[in-house]
Symmetry: C2
Subunit: 273 residues, 2 copies
Amino acid sequence: MESSDDFGWSRSERGGGMAATDEAANGLRAMIAKGELAPGQQLPAEPELCARLGVSRGSLREAVRSLAALGMLESRHGAGTFVSALRPGQMLAGFAATVDVLPLDGLLELFDVRRPLEAQAAALAAARADERVVARLREVQKRLARSEDEAERHALDREFHSTLCEASGNEALAALADVLRARGSHYSIYGAPEADTIRLASDLGHEALINAVAARDPAAAAAAATAHLSQTEVWLRRYAPLPDDGALPDVAPLPDDAPPPGGDPLPDGGPAR
Amino acid sequence: MESSDDFGWSRSERGGGMAATDEAANGLRAMIAKGELAPGQQLPAEPELCARLGVSRGSLREAVRSLAALGMLESRHGAGTFVSALRPGQMLAGFAATVDVLPLDGLLELFDVRRPLEAQAAALAAARADERVVARLREVQKRLARSEDEAERHALDREFHSTLCEASGNEALAALADVLRARGSHYSIYGAPEADTIRLASDLGHEALINAVAARDPAAAAAAATAHLSQTEVWLRRYAPLPDDGALPDVAPLPDDAPPPGGDPLPDGGPAR
DNA sequence: CCAGCCGAAGTCATCAGATGACTCCATGCT
DNA sequence: AGCATGGAGTCATCTGATGACTTCGGCTGG
């Protein structure tokens, strides 16, 4: 039967041991890269894609799911599957989730990535900034300086930096900086003994950034951002032993039988090597 | 119908309209974040995970596939599913694939991301560089200067920058820079009228980078990297109308393809620290 | 004529069962 | 000791069926 299988593709079968799911994922990626599927466009229904790619529905769904995790596709229940807008921010959304599970030693490296990125964003923002951005920054900073609630201060601090990065006009830059900033925000540094000093210095750093942007001085903005983040990093390294890890849900306790999670069924000695 | 769903689990159901696959993915992520599953450790078999997470095997596999796309898990046929080493480079591997489908307008923005990153990497490399790195850079540059084959020059240029970034000692920084560099390499600028001038300037830029690193001068290294990349960017914008878009396979015939992961069975060379 | 209800079609989401392919390890033989 | 072989464990894939959701058109009532 094979229904309307006029495709002479029975010859190509599965090229060179390529797995079905990878085959499907590569096919979909190729269709997008080739422009056959434009951003925002709806994909054919699952049965048709299965026929076109030569895989079962299960394999196709796994392929779609993996591309969706990377921000390339979006499935909406009952409506269809669509190519995303392919904006850099969407691509990085999935990566943001993975940052939350990075071990700490890998995490500290991220500061050396975030710092130059925010400095670049500050410089670009200073070069392009308009009045409204400056006004917005001043307003956020004013509320930040007045607030006494720690959670609120955290949120406002993120908003300040996020606003500045968006003002750079570079979406990829802003999105990437947001991702890297997210993990650091889980930490709390306000329990430190020099809390007042830290807060004062942080506010001064923000003021310096605002002034540099208002003066349209990219070099000063970059320097101010670098200094501000370096100082923040020092404090974090000193006073942030553990994040308040409560963002992720607990997993079901497993109703009965089966060995407990503690004892892993892994004969492998562990860290190996 | 729900078939034999008399289980009293109707209460826990799906926490707040959460879909089965998302439930499973979040559960797995939580298990990793919580340390219940350590990097490199094998996961329980699919049937047991299904029971623990309360989803069918199909849904679980979709969840695993999505986390695998983000570099958090790795499935090996016949062996099992394992938590990855959780190195930043692995997390970014998936993102690299998405860069290939970014539309051009979003692509040009990436230069403003890549430039400060490579500058930072050059500065760190200069601060930490040892003799062997300098020797390696000189050797690559020597071959690069001598080569006349365009493809080879492309490869050597990538190797030069990649070596420099790795010398920074920051894995995340190097991996991210590699990802951003990959897409630009599809372009060919050697058809330009000033090809000879471009080549000479590029070689000089590399020499300046080597000298700065050899002199252990981070500021000079960062400046050299910024200058080199800025110049490259100008030429690319001027002479690179279209990439030779043949990197991705066709969907219909597709007799074979390059192995996507390369060959990385799960090295996890060491805890590193 | 317009607003709102409603039902049918299309689509994704999930479940269940069965089979094949591959890896790993231990056994037994040479 | 070295190597072939077998079994157990695990993932990969296919098939079929059912539920849930969205969307859009027509119908009804005002």
